[in-house]
Amino acid sequence: MKKILKSSGAQSFIASLACIFGGLLVGFLVLLAIEPTGAFQAILNVVKNFFYYSRTEMQLKYLGNTLVKSAPLLMCSLSILFSYKVGLFNIGAAGQYVMGSCACLYAALVLDWHWTACILFAAVAGALFGVITGLLKAYANVNEVISGIMLNWIGLYFTNMVLANAKDAASAYTYTLKAEGKAAILPSLGLNAIFGNNQYVGIAIPLSIIFAVLVWLILEKTKLGYELKATGFNRNAAKYCGMAEKRNIILSLAISGALAGMAGSFMYQTDMEQWQVTIASVPGMGFNGIAAAFLGGLSPIGAIFASFFIQHITDGGSNVDLSIYCSQISDLISSLIIYLCGFVGFLKYAMNSSNAGAEGKKTTEKEDSVKKDDKKGENK
């Protein structure tokens, strides 16, 4: 048992569970404060999400919906954790996601490109925004969080302007891919049949998981990943070891941006939602990615489950009784989870020191018994 507690993976898992529990608890208290009767049912509905529906077919269909949105969320969280490993907090993932959406929708609706080309274009657009942040960080020492936020807003207004060319004059939403860009719809690979004929389920889901594994491979098993992480631990030390620390910063933000950009295409090329060109706030996908990245203990594999969970409760939010509560309760819960993730370091420290304390006692006991043995020997 103690051995398990000592392994860092298990500690991350326990810490994440504690964060989830804390977030749900406070969310429940807020619901209680709004209206006590039905609060428990409401939080239950949030946690249940697709289980809320009684028929298996409907459950599968809504599970499909959650999975469809989990894929871009996973990409965003990969983007954030990748740069975080390099010591950079890429809050600009939200803007890179927006730019990716812009690029893939423009390519799909106006240029009629094939879906693979659209994904690549989205990745390039996201990477471009990442590179801007990286250049500013490496050469002008601009805090990546602040430049990221600025780029988020620049990207949003830019996207609204560009995509205004890809919509009906009467509508605020871009054309559906079904109507104007059939070639860009992601293939379903027959996955839709499994999920109660949910037409949006498709290749994005397995692709995003493949990317998670790829990110893990790059970070853990390649020289590049080692160099990037070394730069993250200590920029100067990496420099003295002969690593191109400036190049590493820019490169990691470019990769990070490409991942977030592809998240945009995994979202909009399913044709599940259309871009609203009058939108006045940066979409939450990139920010939820932060929640998923930290909840997953900053491991790509953990991020897979964390992304699903965050999307699960976000979708579950719409199941609350909307005449009393509001669906933003799940935003509240996921942001609380991020806040609580700030305490993970302390929690791990506490777990380690309590383990060390227990071990310390053991060794002293052992020493005592050894001493006793010695004394016995002397007596003889």
């Binding site: 500013l136 807003w153 207004y157 009393i324 509240l332 700030g342």
Partner: protein, 313 residues
């Protein structure tokens, strides 16, 4: 033209207030990236106060009560940052980000449920304060003078005096530069950092209410404050963490932000036929450019963002 000056001053007020908030917190050694969320919470406090004040309240009372509510709510919300960053050594970037998201989500949930309880068909997150807002402005020949302008000026002067001319301010700044040295001469670093965080919460909350009373008389809380908390941090960096420079930086940024509100009032700008999106982008683009040129030689407090640990040397 009058309109441009008016909005420039108003936006400069918001930016200076919030930037000063960031300035206090960073001088004490805590990076406050949660200013955006603090602004939202402060704005909500003020907006709800305006909503619930009885109809016959005098203008002075409205102004005082609203401002007080914003300041208190902003300061209370900043406790979240204080607890995590000062006592639990949490990653301040992460906590700040979480606070920004939490601020918007919490304000939306609270306002929506208030609206829904009073009217079951109302699911919006909008608070209206049309008549109360008039208490804040005095119309002088078309120029809408706002009490926030006076207040901001006073706070800027006060901040300068507090930071550079009082024992408290100098001690506060010592904690942001070298907390171990400050501790060795008997300054309580934790207390000073708490002071910095709480002041930044109060000023952030004040900036929030100033933001939602600028040009509009109702606010939809789902929107947050459109990156103003972060623009303020850019202002603070550009202003080199000094109150007197922060005001000037705020005026510059305020001007570009105001331009996007009133550009259609100028014929030559209108004739250029630039889409409104460009004007909306402008303050953010300018801030990026400015940051690129000023961050290299930044005079940031040396110990900012590093949790204080008595045991380290």
């Amino acid at each position: 033209m009058v309109l441009l000056i008016q909005y420039t001053l108003l936006f400069a007020c918001i930016l200076s207030l919030v930037a000063l908030g960031g300035c206090f917190s960073e001088h004490s050694g805590v990076i406050n990236l949660g200013l955006e969320g603090i602004m939202v919470m402060g704005a909500m406090g003020g907006a709800l106060m305006m909503k619930y004040l009885p109809d016959g309240t005098s203008a002075v009372m409205i102004v005082l009560a609203t401002i007080l509510a914003s300041i208190i709510l902003g300061a209370i919300y900043s406790l979240l940052l204080g607890v995590a960053a000062i006592h639990f050594k949490a990653d301040q970037t992460l906590v700040g980000t979480a606070m920004n998201m939490l601020g918007v989500a919490m304000a939306t949930v609270i306002v929506k449920s208030i609206n829904t309880i009073s009217n079951p068909d109302d699911h919006s997150s909008i608070v209206q304060y049309i008549s109360e807002k008039k208490a804040f402005v005095i119309n002088i020949n078309g120029f809408e003078f706002s009490w926030f302008m006076v207040l901001t000026l006073l706070i800027v002067i006060a901040s300068y005096i507090v930071l550079y001319k009082t024992k408290f301010g100098l001690r506060l700044m010592a904690c942001g530069e070298h907390p171990q040295a400050a501790d060795s001469v008997g300054i309580n670093v934790y207390k000073m950092r708490w002071a910095g965080v709480l002041i930044s919460g109060a000023l952030g909350g004040l900036g929030g209410i100033c933001y939602i009373t600028t040009g509009v008389s109702e606010w939809k809380f789902e929107y947050g404050v459109a990156g103003f908390g972060f623009l303020s941090l850019a202002v603070m960096i550009f202003g080199k963490w000094k109150p007197q420079n922060i005001v000037l930086a705020a005026l510059l940024f305020g001007f570009f932000r105001a331009l996007s509100n009133v550009y259609f009032g100028f014929d030559f700008l209108k004739n250029l036929n630039i889409p409104s999106g460009i004007y909306n982008m402008l303050p953010y683009v300018i801030s990026l450019i400015v940051l690129a040129f000023t961050s290299k030689r930044s005079r940031a407090p040396k110990a900012e963002g590093i949790p204080y640990d008595k045991g380290t040397r």
